[in-house]
Amino acid sequence: MSITVKQVSKSFGSFRALEHVSVEVAGGSLVALLGPSGSGKTTLLRIIAGLEVADSGTVLYEDEDVTDAAVKDRNVGFVFQHYALFRHMTVFENVAFGLRVRRWPRKRVKERVGELLRLIQLDALAGSYPSQLSGGQRQRVALARALAPEPKVLLLDEPFGALDAKVRQELRQWLRRLHDEIHVTSVFVTHDQEEAFEVADRVVIMNHGHVEQTGTPREIFERPANPFVMDFLGNVNVFHGHVVRGRMKAGSLEVDYPAHPHDEPRPATAFVRSHELDILRTPNGRSSLEGKIMHLSPAGPVVKARVFAADFGIVLNVDVPRDRYAELGLEVGDTVYVAPRDVRVYLQDYII
């Protein structure tokens, strides 16, 4: 079942948490809401669930307007960041709750709960209380409880936020597999871009109550819509300069910018990702910058180099592939040339 959010706004007092937000979630897809803290992700998710009322705008499930429908009539599964399990109920009773309040016959409750406990691989712990489970186990129980009444949509608010890195990694892969099996329309909130990009079919990037960009992980990664998205995705080097007659100039760095063929210069900013910079021993004719290696950290699949570019007075972050690092025999203190492979230029006006 698809979800359509149209022009939703929400204020808390004088604070505008969401402003004219529109989002489409295709039926059966898994969508991530990604954005910095306070950007309104939780608020949007809660409005979709019906836990919060929008000041204006509409929410549709498929073609049905549910803007004014009460939570309990919407049939959504909601997974809370801190599990929100019922502490006085066993794992079995927690999962069965949604079925019992719907007055499912006892036998079917037992079957359905058994099925879900097997799905989350916790059938052995059916009789335990939440306090006896680990964080990861609790979150799986919360997920099973949300899925038990066969919800039309599944909403997850930072489902793995309270877990440690390793469990988090496991659970998000598990969530992806689970989604591939059951195909319930799902929206999950996260502020971990790796999580969003790894798990989701589509990613919605939010900032200050606005949607900045929507697209597949690949689209967003390859074509960030604006400086915010670019910057948010991280690991970028920023050069301030100007564009004039179709060229962007920032010190010795020059790239084409055909969108501004005019004579009068405009301030602009160039962004280059750290893995889109090459390190060279000699200037090779391409636009490159001279710099001095200040630090090398060879842990992980790429070597992270910090290069001080005296012309700009800035430190560049460069990811050097391992074999390239070995080939060049880089040492701290070496003078090198850094050449961008891909530069994104934004006119200053568009920067918020």
Binding site: G50, L51, E52, V53, T67, D68, A70, V71, K72
Partner: protein, 292 residues
């Protein structure tokens, strides 16, 4: 546009709220407010002059007020010293039997006041364990002020200690250890480090203890012997006047005790606000410290 109640799953429908608030106010009204107002209405019913006359014109009532103002402070002082000693020992040191000791301190709360009085009669009364010996030395404890003090001290025994123990445990010993390692003497340590930290908790314990000490009835009833003008405390005087069908007199004394209760409540509420503010303040400072 839907109403928030309809969608917000935590808020109850308006009619439910109104009905429950009305019911709760009704309960508080009948159970607490009406009786409280009635005390003062009965006491002042025949005018301020009559009220004043009832209180000041009766030598026995005067004696009862004086006795209460003697007994309660002594009991309070005894329990104050004990409370501080017990809190110091229990919150600052670990020793075998510590949990049991903490539990034993609460014991007097589960002893009926009448039984509390009785146990002292059994020891110090004429037929008690020490009765003959006391009589030989011409000492009176039961049916005299010392008995009243003992009984009152017993029933108010836990108040200050149980206020201080959790408080001092929460505060921790770090500051005191620091002071001790700087060479502070025991008394300096207490005066300059411990006392400033616990003073509000101490005041809280003291007012509760005092309210109970001045208002205690059952325990002192048993040990007093009801010698009018000599061993009647204010609550006992209320009962005696009531038995003598002197209702205005009984309510006049009762109104004094009720005022004491109101003052106690006011101080208690003020202290609770203050503590809540302090806690919020501390939490704010801590989070700012983290952010920095």
């Amino acid at each position: 546009m839907s109403t928030p109640e309809k969608t917000n799953p935590r808020s109850d429908p308006r009619w439910v709220r109104v009905a429950l608030i009305a019911a709760a106010l009704g309960v508080i009204g009948v159970l607490i407010v009406i009786p409280l107002v009635d005390v003062f209405v009965e006491a002042f019913g025949r005018g301020l002059g009559a009220y004043w006359q009832t209180l000041t014109g009766d030598a026995d009532t005067q004696a009862a007020i004086r006795l209460t103002l003697t007994v309660a402070p002594i009991a309070l002082a005894l329990n104050l010293i004990f409370g501080i000693a017990a809190a110091w020992a229990i919150s600052r040191f670990r020793f075998p039997g510590r949990t049991l000791l903490t539990a034993l301190i609460d014991l007097p709360f589960s002893v009926s006041p009448v039984v509390a009085g009785l146990i002292f009669v059994l020891i110090f009364g004429l037929q008690g364990y020490l009765g003959p010996w006391l009589r030989a030395h011409d000492w009176r404890i039961i049916f005299a002020t010392p008995g009243l003090v003992l009984a009152t001290t017993f029933v108010t025994f836990p108040f200050i200690a149980r206020e201080l123990i959790p408080l001092m445990e929460a505060i921790g010993a770090d500051e005191e250890i620091a002071a001790a390692s700087l060479g502070a003497s025991g008394w300096q340590l207490f005066r300059r480090v411990t006392l400033p930290n616990i003073k509000w908790g101490l005041v809280y314990g003291i007012i509760l203890c005092n309210a109970r000490a001045m208002g205690e009835f059952g325990a002192v009833y048993v040990v007093s012997g009801h010698i009018t003008g000599r061993t009647d405390t204010m609550p006992l005087r209320v009962e005696k006047l009531f038995q003598e069908y002197n209702t205005p007199g009984a309510f006049a004394v009762a109104s004094l005790l009720a005022s004491l209760a109101l003052v106690t409540l006011a101080v208690k509420t003020a202290l609770e606000w203050k503590t809540r503010r302090d806690l919020a303040e501390a939490a704010r400072l801590r989070s700012e410290g983290d952010a920095a």
